[in-house]
């Protein structure tokens, strides 16, 4: 699934001040590529991932994913696009505090009405949290929450994984393990750009 970003510009307004997060950005990512976005804080990595995930709209330019123009989607169509094609790992995890780790992983399967507990449990075990299925996010460490977020992004077998600082909160050992998980995801096929800090990229 190819990602084409053409002449994308995004500006945020804060009061009277305008901050240009992206200016005339163009690139293309071929299917199966693993891409790391590297840049200092505030360079627009998260903004770019949000635009590709159709969580926001660019001021100018166009983004197409697998031939689908995601910049003009309605909220409903954008939600369907994310549910069917995208696995998103957020920088701040965005786990729901009232759900257990297992239920958080199952969440992307709920809209379609097909929660597959076995698949969720497999992923939970794959990220090394098989014994923490019934724990709520508040009972998990930052690194464990991040691993739950990774498992949640993978549960509906997305063609595209967008990971915002996916291993930023993990220790060296866990970071290596998760990097290897990313490589395994790449081997399974599909384009998978990741946004990360320079440290993570190294």
């Amino acid at each position: 699934m190819t990602i084409c970003v053409r002449s994308v510009t995004k500006t945020y307004s804060r009061g009277r001040q305008s901050i240009t997060a992206l200016q005339n950005v163009s690139f293309e990512i071929a299917e199966g590529e693993l891409v790391l976005l590297v840049g200092p804080s505030g360079s627009g990595k998260t903004t770019l991932l949000n635009l590709i995930a159709a969580l926001d709209r660019p001021d100018r330019g166009e983004i197409s994913v697998g031939g689908l123009n995601v910049t003009g989607l309605s909220r409903s169509a954008a939600a369907a696009y994310r549910n069917e094609r995208v696995g998103m790992i957020f920088q701040s995890y965005n786990l729901l505090p009232q759900l257990t780790a297992l239920e958080n992983i199952l969440l992307p399967l709920v809209p379609a009405g097909r929660p597959n507990r076995r698949r969720a449990m497999e992923l939970l075990e794959a990220v090394g949290l098989g014994d923490r299925a019934a724990h709520r996010p508040s009972e998990l460490s930052g690194g464990e929450q991040q691993r739950v977020a990774i498992a949640r992004a993978l549960v509906n077998d997305p063609a595209l994984i967008l990971a915002d600082e996916p291993i930023g909160n993990l220790d060296d050992k866990d970071a290596r393990a998760k990097s290897s998980l990313c490589c395994r995801m790449r081997a399974a096929g599909g384009a998978r750009p990741c946004s990360s800090s320079p440290t993570t990229a190294r």
Partner: protein, 417 residues
């Protein structure tokens, strides 16, 4: 289970506010329900009073005067002078009122019964129209029809006094001195004549102690004119389209009978209006209590719900971000508010229904309308549903507006409220 947790879980420190909001809304719903039940009960009391008093009916009657009654078929009994209505009302003048006219010829006759004489009240009426304002409960036979000839319907007391039964006959002396024979076609079990004439002589009565006529013989106007020998009326009822039209109808009738000093026009509307005025004020008070409670407690509850919703903006955005459709996300994030307001309305109304008095009397002036029986009906349900929806809408509106205005990414990046 996940849906239940999405809707009702994750309140965090806002849980207490949600519980307080529920309590406040229960209290508000109970007060609103109680007040509205009193209002509804009072409205029913007014409706009952209006049904009983019929303020829309205007009475036109001739003067009450003494008339000489010959005792029929007897030369050794002295003539009697008995008070009766004089037949002074020209039916054509009643038409000027612009309202429904119920013409009546009410008079007294001596009727032979076995070896004695009876004083019997005879009423010439328009059967269909009269039945709309007076109560006639037919026990046997049938009621009068407007095309009936010399037939009569009479109540049990008069039938017993006359010694007649269904199908029987009895003679009535006409104005020309001849007798007319009336055939009984119906016996009344119950009789409530609207504006009956005063009972001034010894005559059969269904309620013996009453100062009004409670028993009599009913014939059609055509038959009564034949007995009476003239078309003028002794009294009549004029029914206005609505009670509020009564003053205008009375004005027109007084103008029509301006030159007839023996004809009087009277109405009960003014008295009824005075009677219900305090009642209406009481209703307004309870309605104001209901509205003020709904407004104050509702806005307080809505404000508490708003705090909870503000905390849930991130959940809504998260669900959208992982692929929930907007409607699914909205249900998951806002359902608890609807459930809270709805459950509070149900619990509050049940409490009000359970603890409201079954009936109570209003003080002093209002007591004239009888006891109030608070009642719960569909209108109150609609008001409570509207209140619950309004509180829900008020609570969620700022959050919904913010979610609509901002992109999912911006809503996701918002800190918890």
């Amino acid at each position: 289970m996940i849906w239940a947790k999405l809707v009702f879980g994750g309140f965090g420190r806002r849980g207490l506010e949600a519980v307080i909001a529920f309590g406040v809304l229960v209290l508000a719903a109970a007060i609103v329900t109680g007040s509205l039940m009193v209002v509804e009960g009072a409205r029913e009391a007014i409706a009952r009073a209006a049904e009983a008093d019929r303020p829309d009916v205007v009475q036109v009657k001739s003067r009450f005067n003494r008339a000489v009654f010959e005792t029929p078929r007897s030369g050794n009994l002295p003539p009697l002078t008995l008070p009766v209505y004089e037949p002074l009302i020209d039916p054509a003048k009643l038409a000027d009122a612009g309202a429904t006219v119920l013409a009546r010829q009410s008079f007294l006759r001596n009727v032979v019964s076995g070896d004695s004489f009876l004083n019997i009240y005879i009423f010439g009426i328009a059967p269909e129209e009269e039945a709309q304002v007076s109560t006639f409960v037919v026990g046997r036979g049938r009621f009068l029809r407007s095309d009936d000839g010399p037939v009569a319907v009479l109540d049990r007391a008069s039938a017993q006094a006359l010694g007649v039964d269904l199908g029987g006959t009895f003679p009535v002396r006409k104005a020309d001195g001849q007798d007319i024979t009336l055939t009984v076609v119906g016996i009344l079990d119950q009789l409530e004549l609207r504006y009956p004439p005063p009972r001034t002589v010894d005559a059969p009565a269904l309620r013996p102690g009453s100062s009004s006529v409670t028993s009599g013989v009913f014939v059609t106007l055509r038959t009564s004119e034949e007995i009476f020998g003239r078309p003028t009326l002794t009294d009549a009822l004029v029914v206005a389209r609505t009670a509020d039209n009564v003053p205008a109808v009375v004005e027109r009738l007084r103008e029509a009978f301006r030159l007839e000093p023996g004809v009087f026009v009277s109405e009960s509307y003014s008295r009824f209006r005075r009677k219900v005025q305090d009642f209406v004020l009481t209703l307004a008070l309870f309605t104001a209590i209901a509205a003020a409670t709904a407004g104050l407690a509702g806005s307080f509850g809505a404000n508490l719900l708003h705090d909870v919703y503000a905390d849930r903006r991130r959940q809504y955005a998260t669900l959208l971000a992982i692929g929930f459709r907007p409607t699914q996300s909205a249900i998951a994030s806002s359902g608890f508010g609807l459930a809270t307001a709805g459950a509070a309305a149900v619990v509050g109304s049940l409490l009000a229904v359970a603890f409201a008095p079954r009936h109570f009397a209003m003080p002093s002036l209002l007591a004239e309308l009888g006891t109030i029986e608070p009642s719960f009906n569909a209108w109150i349900v609609a008001v409570l549903a509207g209140m619950a929806l309004a509180i829900f809408a008020l609570g969620i509106a700022p959050t919904a507006w913010q979610l609509h205005r901002r992109s999912v990414a911006v809503n996701l990046s918002q800190e918890r409220g």
